[in-house]
């Protein structure tokens, strides 16, 4: 039963993902990709569980390694996205005056 529910969740999330990113201007392609990439760092949650749930040394070590990598992804990803967007925003408010 649980697998079914999980599959439902998968299906709905996929649809939602498609609907959300219907039309994106070219200027946002890179930041959006980067932002989505940061979200995919959610695997850090899995890593934390693996590292912290005390399932044995292998699991812990692998988990810790996973936490490291995933954290790089999450922290770096969000920060880099924010940098890109803030630059973008500045340009935007610059031009707003003329239009």
């Amino acid at each position: 039963m649980e697998a079914v529910l999980l599959a439902f969740i998968l299906m709905l999330s996929v649809f939602l993902g498609f609907e959300l990113i219907a039309k994106v201007p070219a200027t946002l392609h890179t930041p959006l990709m980067s932002g989505a990439n940061a979200i995919s760092g959610i695997t850090v949650v899995g890593a934390i569980i693996a590292a912290g749930a005390d399932l044995g040394p292998w699991s812990t070590w692998l988990g810790a390694l996973a936490v490291f990598f995933a954290t790089v992804n999450v922290v770096g990803g969000y920060m880099v996205t924010d940098r890109m967007l803030s630059m973008f925003k500045k340009k935007d408010s610059d031009t707003r005056g003329d239009s």
Binding site: S34, S40, I42, G52, T60, A64, T71, L85
Partner: protein
């Protein structure tokens, strides 16, 4: 803390991710969107740390702090121009993360077929993402040559790797005892597959590849979620997976390529790029929009068809939208376009196109190679390359606007019919030509609608 509370908080995080993504698809709200989604991430991480499953914080703390520092420094340091490489690297670390989570899950007690399958998938996708991202990074930063690397039998090798992966996975699932030797094979092969998939792709396509790998890394997280039975991983992972795929598709279209072309280029027989002559490539208004949206210089070439369609007003409107979008827009007027001298001038003046955007044939031709998109609006004879190249053509010798030298050409007309002189037009079969069939006014309106939505 009960599982219900954990789940509830995960739902909250998922909601934040959804809103974050939504807001990120509009320039005005993108910053806020990114912030929301990062808050979601924070919440998910914190609640996980607080959950009763977690007993030992030492390793986590160390790894997390190290990772955060590395990530933050990298994000700070990188030059604006180096962004795509950086994203590739981050993406790669996300991929290896998922691979490791899947791997670690093998040490839990649950060895059900479902778990094993999902673990295999998370290792496979994670591995491909990891090595693929690294190769993409290397190509972009020119650490390795950015050209496409191909060799004979590449296709065969790829197929063999895939086969081996499937065999190993099946063996593991049916005989969990074999897990430990074989999983290393799976990991190695996955990583190899990632390399193989990306090396034959040229550097110019890397942004698309990264976007695709980004989608993969979402799927990897999703698979890992299935493996360890964690909903937030599934939801966030599949959101990103789907969003990334759509985004990849959009990017492909803006580059005038098909997704399957990028997806399977590594598996296609290399080095035999055959040019199909005489093939007409129609395009839809929304695909045209995507290309125009990414263009930074556009020239409109109106002809008699614009007059017939009375499309002058929408032409101007599209021009204004393109300008607002940051593109250079001009209107190239061929001296005999239309059916009377100055026909195009009358119409464009009526539509209030500023005089200084009207340029003459002799002015546009020398710089047409640098034009991203030339939009031919119901013109035919005046852009017919036969006048330049085919000595036997009745219109040979007439000077034309060389739209065929532009990077991309859109031709808006209703059919393949010829123009005033009744001569066939090889432009329509050009490599870089896309035919947008239909009444010019309607076609342009559709493109404009895309712009405005």
């Amino acid at each position: 803390m009960s599982l219900e509370v954990l789940g509830g908080v995960y739902i909250l995080a998922a909601i934040l991710f959804v809103f974050g993504l939504k807001l990120m698809s509009s320039p005005a709200t993108a910053v806020r969107g990114n912030l929301l989604s990062s808050v979601g991430m924070l919440i998910a991480v914190v609640i996980t740390l607080l959950s009763k499953e977690i007993i030992d914080y030492r390793y986590i703390a160390g790894a997390a702090i190290l990772g955060a520092v590395v990530g933050a420094v990298a994000a700070r340091r990188v030059a604006m121009t180096g962004m795509p490489e950086m994203v590739a690297l981050f993406n790669g670390s996300g991929g290896i993360g998922s691979l490791l989570v899947g791997w670690a899950a093998l040490y839990s007690d649950d060895r059900s077929a479902f778990t094993l399958i999902t673990v295999m998938i998370s290792i496979l996708i994670g591995g491909v993402t990891f090595s693929g991202s690294l190769v993409a990074w290397a190509k972009l930063s020119e650490t390795i040559g950015s050209g496409a690397i191909t060799f004979g039998g590449q296709r065969l090798v790829n197929v063999l790797i895939l086969l081996a992966l499937v065999v190993c996975s099946v063996l593991i699932v049916f005989n969990p005892a074999l897990t430990f030797p074989l999983v290393f094979v799976v990991i190695a092969l996955s990583v190899l597959l990632g390399v193989m998939a990306v090396i034959p792709i040229g550097g110019a396509d890397m942004p698309v590849v990264i976007s695709l790998l980004n989608s993969y890394s979402g799927l990897a997280a999703c698979a890992a979620g299935f493996a360890i039975n964690n909903t937030i991983l599934i939801v966030a992972g599949s959101l990103v997976g789907a969003a990334g795929l759509i985004l990849t598709n959009i990017m492909c279209k803006a580059m005038n390529r098909s997704l399957s072309n990028v997806l399977f280029s590594g598996f296609a027989a290399p080095g035999k790029a055959t040019k199909v002559e005489g093939e007409v490539k129609p395009i839809t208004a929304d695909d045209a929009y995507l290309i125009l949206e990414a263009a930074s210089s556009v020239v409109m070439v109106p002809g008699y068809g614009m007059a017939v369609a009375q499309a002058q007003h929408v032409v101007r409107e599209l021009g204004e939208l393109l300008e607002a979008n940051g593109a250079d827009v001009s209107y190239a007027i061929h001296p005999v376009a239309g059916r009377m001298p100055g026909h195009m001038n009358v119409l464009l003046a009526e539509a209030n196109v500023p005089y200084d955007q009207l340029i003459e044939m002799d002015e546009i031709n020398p710089r047409i190679e640098n034009i991203d998109v030339a939009i031919v609006i119901g013109a035919n004879d005046v852009v017919n390359p036969a006048a330049r190249e085919d000595e036997n053509s009745p219109i040979y010798g007439m000077p034309i606007i060389n739209v065929d030298y532009a990077r991309t050409v859109f031709v808006l007309k209703r059919s393949m019919a010829s123009g005033f002189s009744g001569v066939d037009n090889p432009l329509f079969f050009g490599e870089n030509t896309r035919m947008l069939f239909g009444d010019a006014k309607q076609s342009l309106s559709s493109v404009i609608a895309e712009f405005k939505s």
